[in-house]
């Protein structure tokens, strides 16, 4: 290290930043991570399901050591209207292959673990410091400015999350538009391990993921979720921001009404709210992709829009980890060649292209627009619950089943069902 200059500065100690830092430090690069929160993860929240494959590739068997909450073995999806719901339920055992598993996680516990790994590998962490700007000379990023002080480096990795103010300042990231994102609100509700087990039909260490469509997001794009943690649950609502102003309900109200729904209420009863959090979710996928590589700079994780709305789940954490890894490969390569220019760093784009990130982003390219269809959140949940109601209601002489069901299909519209079914299949 020449004077105070680092080989690389990483802005943001989320999963993307910490992963990159770990790998670069391990390879021998002088690595500095700057995080505005008081510790890695202090500012971060997520819905709660980490698909293990990305971390597993870097730390085989990580879940034995990392503070994950429960291994997800129980999946539920509910379609709900204001007062009722229909649920699909799938139960299994944990996959024999660790890379196929997924875990519920809490970021203020997981991120510090990853940061510690990076620290043990030699990365230097400075927490409680906000980076205000980037140091740019002759069109090349060569450090950061924080608290009026300059800190130099050969290159910078922006891992500063979905509101990447720094990426915008550089002109690499487009300002996120309401069309390309949703807001997620979440409560962590303490129940105790036994109640979690009993209410979600799980044993210790095993957990459930439960998604809800329809009523939670007031009939607009979005949905509700519950993930079981060790002795609490993470419960939340995601709402596509471009529909703001159309719904009569406020976002906090959606969460409250969701919690009071007859399907959800018994699950949370007697629980104690221990945290209320919110975060924007990038959902534009390829459509909001920024310029990923610049002179002396790379953009990773949510800051790069690497997040997938796959309909039944939001996926960003495994992409954050994998993009951090791809950036580290490029950075190490650049460092070995002592060339931190954009063309040298473009190895990053090649790494991404070869990884599941770009494949999945391409695969799901059309999904957000397909999902932005009010029938999904109104007509179809109403159709499902209506059918069930008629099926289970006895109030006199019975009518043939077919006669009970057809009106519900008619109400949703045969043509719509066919059209949406067709488009749905084609969008993935």
């Amino acid at each position: 290290m020449s004077d105070d200059k680092f080989d690389v500065i990483v802005v943001g100690a989320g999963l993307a930043g910490c992963t990159a830092a770990f790998l670069m430090a391990q390879a021998g690069m002088e690595t500095l991570v700057i995080e505005r929160g008081n510790f890695a993860g202090a500012k971060n929240m997520t819905g709660g399901r980490l698909y293990a494959h990305s971390l597993e590739a870097i730390f085989p068997g990580f879940a034995d050591d990392a503070p994950v909450e429960r291994c997800i073995v129980h999946e539920k999806i509910s379609f709900m209207d204001e007062t009722s719901s229909v649920t699909l339920d799938y139960a299994s055992t944990a996959s024999g292959s660790p890379a196929e598993r997924s875990y519920s996680v809490l970021r203020s516990r997981l991120d510090p673990w990853l940061a510690e790994k990076a620290e043990s590998a030699g990365a230097v962490f400075v927490t409680g410091v906000r980076v205000d700007d980037l140091l740019v000379r002759y069109g090349k990023v060569c450090g950061v400015i924080a608290g009026g002080e300059e800190m130099e480096a050969d290159m910078v990795i922006l891992a500063d999350g979905v509101n990447s103010l720094l990426g915008e300042k550089l002109g690499m990231v487009h300002t996120v538009t309401p069309h390309h994102c949703a807001v997620g609100v979440k409560e962590v509700i303490e129940l105790g391990r036994q109640k979690v087990n009993d209410r979600f039909g799980c044993c210790d260490k095993d957990g459930a993921a439960w998604l809800f469509a329809g009523m939670p997001s007031a009939g607009y794009m979005g949905g509700g979720f519950i993930y079981t943690n060790e002795d609490s649950i993470s419960l939340g609502v995601v709402f596509g921001l471009h529909n703001t102003g159309r719904s009569a309900k406020s976002v906090p109200q959606m969460l409250e009404d969701f919690k009071n729904h007859p399907t959800v209420r018994p699950l949370v009863e007697g629980g104690k709210l221990v945290e209320y959090s919110a975060h924007v979710v990038p959902e534009g996928g390829m459509e909001m992709a920024p310029k990923l590589v610049g002179e002396g700079v790379l953009i990773v994780g949510d800051a790069a829009g690497f997040c997938l709305n796959a309909g039944y789940t939001v996926r960003g954490m495994d992409l954050a980890v994998a993009s951090g890894k791809a950036a580290a490969v490029a950075a190490i390569n650049a460092w070995q060649r002592a060339d931190f220019g954009a063309s040298s760093l473009s190895v990053y784009e090649r790494e991404l292209d070869g990884s599941f990130i770009m494949k999945d982003l391409r695969l799901y390219r059309k999904l957000p627009s397909f999902l932005d269809n009010r029938r999904m959140y109104n007509d179809y949940p109403a159709m499902a619950t209506g059918m069930m109601k008629d099926l289970f209601t006895v109030n006199g002489p019975s009518r043939p089943l077919r006669k009970k069901m057809i009106p519900h299909l008619k109400k949703a519209g045969f043509m719509n069902l066919i059209k949406d079914g067709w488009k749905g299949v084609r969008s993935i």
């Binding site: 976002v251 009404d257 945290e275 924007v280």
Partner: protein
């Protein structure tokens, strides 16, 4: 459905280090009320409010730093949106 949700009670369980007298979000003087209504509906912390007389009242303490207001009405209402200074703002213990 039931009574209006009281977000303040929820914020009360969070850990905040408020940077007194140093707001990280500033809003325009006379915002369009139509735009403002979007923020009243969307801000998860319920910080965009109106008093009895209908005058806008925004308080940055309690901000969850989600970025929603910046994205929704950035140019029209939110004059300045930054993250709080290092060490300040919300601190998640679970996340």
């Amino acid at each position: 459905m039931n009574t209006r949700v009281n977000v303040d009670v929820k914020l009360g369980v969070n850990k905040f280090f408020v940077d007194e007298g140093n707001p990280h979000i500033e809003i325009a003087e006379n915002p369009s009320l139509q735009e403002y209504a979007k923020l009243e509906a969307a801000c998860p912390a319920g910080l965009y409010r109106r008093d009895e007389k209908g005058a806008v009242r925004f308080d940055y303490a309690g901000c969850l730093e989600c970025g929603t207001c910046r994205i929704l009405c950035g140019k029209t209402i939110v004059k300045r949106w930054e993250y709080p200074n290092g060490t300040f703002g919300v601190e998640f213990r679970y996340g």
